[in-house]
């Protein structure tokens, strides 16, 4: 109760800031971030940029970041336990930046023809998308990190590449320290002008804590939260990194120590956590097994859940479901999910993830350390470079290429299948080459100055995480369009080959004119009414399993040309809209330019009853099984959440999904009527939060296309 008023004021501020972002920046089809809009009169010039307005290399990144940190406006809210809000992303200040295609200072035009042909999102030049280990920073503090870098620099004095990187790291750290110090000074000045004793005391605490944290190692719970917040804000400012970590376990030692000393109570802890979650909705994991398989759930796991529930803003918490888990955490997580209807927490399935990762040759202990830190990401904190979620193949495009090539000769299903497999192979090879290219050049393009600091290896070796600094390289390759392609194969098998009510030429004709010709709509309906992936033992299910089989064979059982491991997953992020625009009509009855299927989900309307158990079975059956996820995007209708035994039913559904091989479940609970109204007049629903794919966002901040994606999924469910 003590902090209710302050939490309400902080949430009001967050809501105002959300509106300000929408007004100033317009629709943004990505996560809700903790950033705020900078002051109107704030001006910033990059000190180092090339003739194209971009910049690359450690030196430029270090200097630009340092300058940005040193100029960064200070933000202190007297009601907040923690100081700071971030406002910019340096990575997007490069001229020509696009979300789907990063700036890259090196020519890879030799890969572009195939990348274009198969609509590959190559990931070359992409940043972050792997997890840091916050323990490194919490144990050293900024001062200790600086010392570590300086010591390493001395040992690499004769290595120009390492020296450039390490000097840039020094720029980054000193820039962050500058920002923290100015914030502390501002808080101190604000304290002297504050009349209310509670808020004055709070500001003085903020000033003291942050002055200390410029160099000091966090010792108290609040200091640890503030340290994490600073790293998060700096890392977001650098390149949007939002990976997060195993939050309950990171903070447990501070919690236990401070409580034992009588310095804090659970009410204080909940408030500090609420402030951390408000600071930015990083992806945090709760519960789960330690290296030995023992459950890590602690009282803090529950406090974090309760803090999120009190805030009711966008949040990204994942509960790890495993054999020895504290079932109360599972239950409380589902209760909050159903009560608040904000799309969190979501749930990951340890059994399949751990078993899968071990198939790459890793130990069970190491596999258990891997955590879910992004939309669909899995990452060993501080150890693994992955490029999660940024490398994708649009297999609907691959199918399209194969289909029309099939039509040039004696079109048969067998021929189409072989052609698809062949083109898929080429697409994967193109991706693999691109990954090697990225790994060879990215450190010269955009080093991971922030994430390097909280990783094991880069500072010690003088090598960027992308270029030999990491312990493990497991490059994530996701494919999108599973259901679209599986259902297309199934429709051809059923209507053309088995029933013979359509010829190949008729299908080609109708696809080419987007079903607009004479009889086109009937043919479209006929194809759309064919057996689908998700129905259970259908032709579509068989094709989906075949697609998964060849995907796994071509990815998990090989390496890139330079020997890097690749791990397959099924995930489209929200690219199902963008990918769909690049693909014509498909034989599953989909019209040209419409979104392709989402992630691992069956297409909407796959069964008359849309049974969630059928969906769960289908998605569990196509898990690639090498440690990365193929998430289930679960839209729960309001009716099923209002049942007296809703919590038990949902727990049973999720537990079974994980028992049979599921890896991750992203959940929305919004009723169709609300989402339709919100789509028509988003301004009337400024605080409606939805889980778009793995990320959560304010509905009103999404573009019309993205809102439509969510609406269609919810209505069809």
């Amino acid at each position: 109760m003590k902090y209710i008023k302050r939490i309400n004021l902080l949430v009001e501020a967050k809501n105002r800031q959300t509106k300000q972002k929408l007004d100033r920046l317009g629709a943004r089809d990505e996560d809700d971030y903790g950033c705020v809009v900078p002051p109107e009169d704030f001006k910033f010039e990059l000190p180092i940029k090339d003739e194209n307005g971009s910049f690359s290399g450690a030196y430029a990144w270090g200097k630009n970041f340092r300058h940005l940190m040193e100029c960064h406006p200070v933000y202190v809210d007297p009601n907040d336990a923690l100081a700071g809000r971030w406002m910019f992303m340096l990575s997007r200040m490069r001229q020509g930046y696009r979300l789907e295609l990063s700036n890259f200072a090196f020519d890879y035009s030799h890969l572009k023809p195939n990348q274009h042909k198969y609509d590959i999102t190559c990931g070359i030049g992409k940043d972050a998308h792997f997890a840091p280990d916050y323990r490194i920073g919490l144990e050293l503090g900024w001062g200790g990190l600086l010392d570590k870098v300086k010591r390493s620099l001395e040992s690499f004095a004769k290595d120009p590449i390492a020296s450039e990187l390490l000097e840039a790291e020094i720029d980054a750290i000193e820039g962050v320290q500058n920002w923290i110090l100015r914030t502390a000074e501002t808080a101190h000045a604000m304290a002297s002008e504050k009349n209310e004793p509670e808020l004055r005391e709070n500001l003085e605490q903020i000033a003291k804590i942050n002055k200390y944290l410029v160099n000091g190692v966090p010792e108290t719970f609040r200091e640890a939260c503030q340290w994490i917040a600073w790293f998060n804000m700096a890392s977001r400012t650098y390149n949007r990194d939002g990976a997060g970590g195993q939050l309950d376990e990171l903070l447990r030692p501070y919690y236990e120590r401070d409580k034992a000393k009588g310095m804090i109570n659970d009410c204080d802890v909940e408030f500090y956590i609420a402030c951390l979650l408000l600071n930015d909705p990083h992806y945090y994991q709760l519960g789960g097994p330690d290296r030995d398989g023992n459950d890590m759930t602690s009282p803090l796991s529950f406090i974090i859940l309760e803090a999120a529930s009190k805030l009711k803003v966008s949040c990204n918490l994942t509960i790890r479901v495993h054999k020895k888990m504290d079932k109360r955490l599972f239950r409380r997580g589902v209760e909050i999910l159903l009560k608040d209807k904000l799309g969190y927490p979501r749930f990951s399935g340890d059994k399949a993830l751990v078993e899968g990762f071990c198939k790459n040759g890793y130990s069970e202990g190491l596999a258990r350390e891997r955590i879910a830190t992004g939309c669909n990401w899995m990452s060993l904190p501080g150890m693994e470079y992955t490029l999660n979620d940024v490398v994708k193949i649009n297999i609907a495009k691959v199918f399209e290429v194969a289909f029309y090539e099939n039509m040039k000769s004696m079109a048969t299903l067998k021929n189409l299948q072989e052609l698809f497999a062949r083109h898929f192979e080429i697409a994967i090879e193109t991706v693999a080459e691109g990954m090697d290219f990225h790994l060879e050049h990215q450190y010269l393009n955009e080093p991971e100055l922030m994430l390097n600091l909280l990783s094991y290896g880069p500072i010690e070796k003088g090598l960027d995480m992308s270029h030999g600094g990491a312990k493990y390289y497991n490059m994530a390759l996701d494919c999108a369009g599973l259901a679209t392609v599986a259902d297309s194969f199934a429709a051809l098998e059923q209507r053309v080959e088995k029933e013979k009510i359509l010829s190949w030429q008729e299908v080609e004709k109708h696809l080419s004119d987007d079903f607009s010709g004479r009889g086109g709509e009937r043919v479209r309906r006929m194809l759309a009414a064919s057996e689908k992936y998700g129905q259970g033992n259908s032709l579509g299910d068989n094709w989906a399993r075949w697609l998964n089989k060849i995907f796994v064979e071509k990815v998990a059982l090989r390496t890139t040309p330079k020997g890097r491991k690749m791990i397959p997953g099924w995930f489209s992020w929200a690219d199902s809209v963008r990918f769909g625009k690049n693909v014509g009509a498909t034989p599953n009855g989909r019209k040209a330019a419409k979104p392709i299927s989402h992630g691992a989900n069956p297409c909407p309307g796959f069964r008359k009853d849309n049974a969630l158990t059928a969906m769960s079975n289908a998605i569990a059956s196509i898990q690639p099984g090498y440690g990365n996820s193929a998430p289930w995007q679960l839209e729960l209708d309001i009716g099923s959440t209002q049942h007296p035994n809703a919590v038990d039913n949902i727990i049973a559904l999720l537990q079974t999904h994980f028992d049979i091989g599921g890896t991750l479940v992203n959940i929305n609970i919004v009723d169709a009527a609300t989402i339709i109204r919100a789509h028509e007049k988003p301004e009337d629903y400024p605080y409606l939060i939805v889980r778009v794919t793995g990320f959560s966002a304010y509905f009103t901040s999404l573009s019309k296309d993205f809102r439509q994606l969510v609406v269609d999924r919810i209505i069809e469910s």
Partner: protein, 300 residues
Amino acid sequence: MKGIITEIQRFSLHDGPGIRTTVFMKGCNMRCAWCHNPETIQIKPQLQFFPGKCIECGECIRICPNGVHAVLGNKRVLKRDLCVGCGKCASVCYSGALVLVGKEIDTKEVMKEIMEDIQYYHQSGGGITISGGEPLVQKFFSFEILKLCKEKGIHTAIETNVAMPWSDISFILPVTDLIMLDIKAMDDSVHKKWTGVSNSRILKNIKKLSEKEIPLIIRTPIIPGVNDSTEEIGRIAKYISSLSNVLYYELLPFNPLGAPKYESLDMKNVFEHSKITDKKLMKQLAQTARKFVKNVRMKV
């Protein structure tokens, strides 16, 4: 063994405890005027027509051997009296405008679908429910499915009107873990008027069931102008209070979602203009019921 069903619905949460699969039988021995599944009343397959889905391809006209389908002027016409239910038109209608509801199916095929979710039943304390229609109109078929489920360790339930000879009910009991049944009205004249049958045998059967050790869930659909009064619900609740083994008594609000089905079958819908029962009234009726029965639920 074969039987006629309308559909198999997986992930049912409202037809018994836990996560269930519900098998809807075709055919019913009652004629409840408010039935929200009118397509389950007659046992033989029937043609449904949803004109809003028609894309006017004309294939149904071409294929029908009996001239059921036609276009007169600009109007799409369906001569239902000529229809023999062969399903040829529905088989070529991909828009879903024409649907033959009711298909013959073997117990093996039913079990194949049921078994898909066995892990969810075990995890949630769920199972399978035979509903309809009236399951005991096809008692041998229902029995066989329930028996096969019991052999697999699956919890079984039926939703029945118990308006049949006791011998039919007792026949199914060895393979049934839970019975869900309705009491629509205590007033027999009201019951006969709106359902076509007397409630006398129903009430006797319920009494006998309560003397067996089989759990019962008793429901009353609240129907406007029929039983939506505290007096009627009070009488029903008082009767229930004399029974044993009742897990709970549930009040169900009137369900208007059956209206499109009546139109699709060209059936008269007496409750065409009725709306879902007002929440305030539901609460009032539940309060009345709680005077007699401890465990009363109200579906929202």
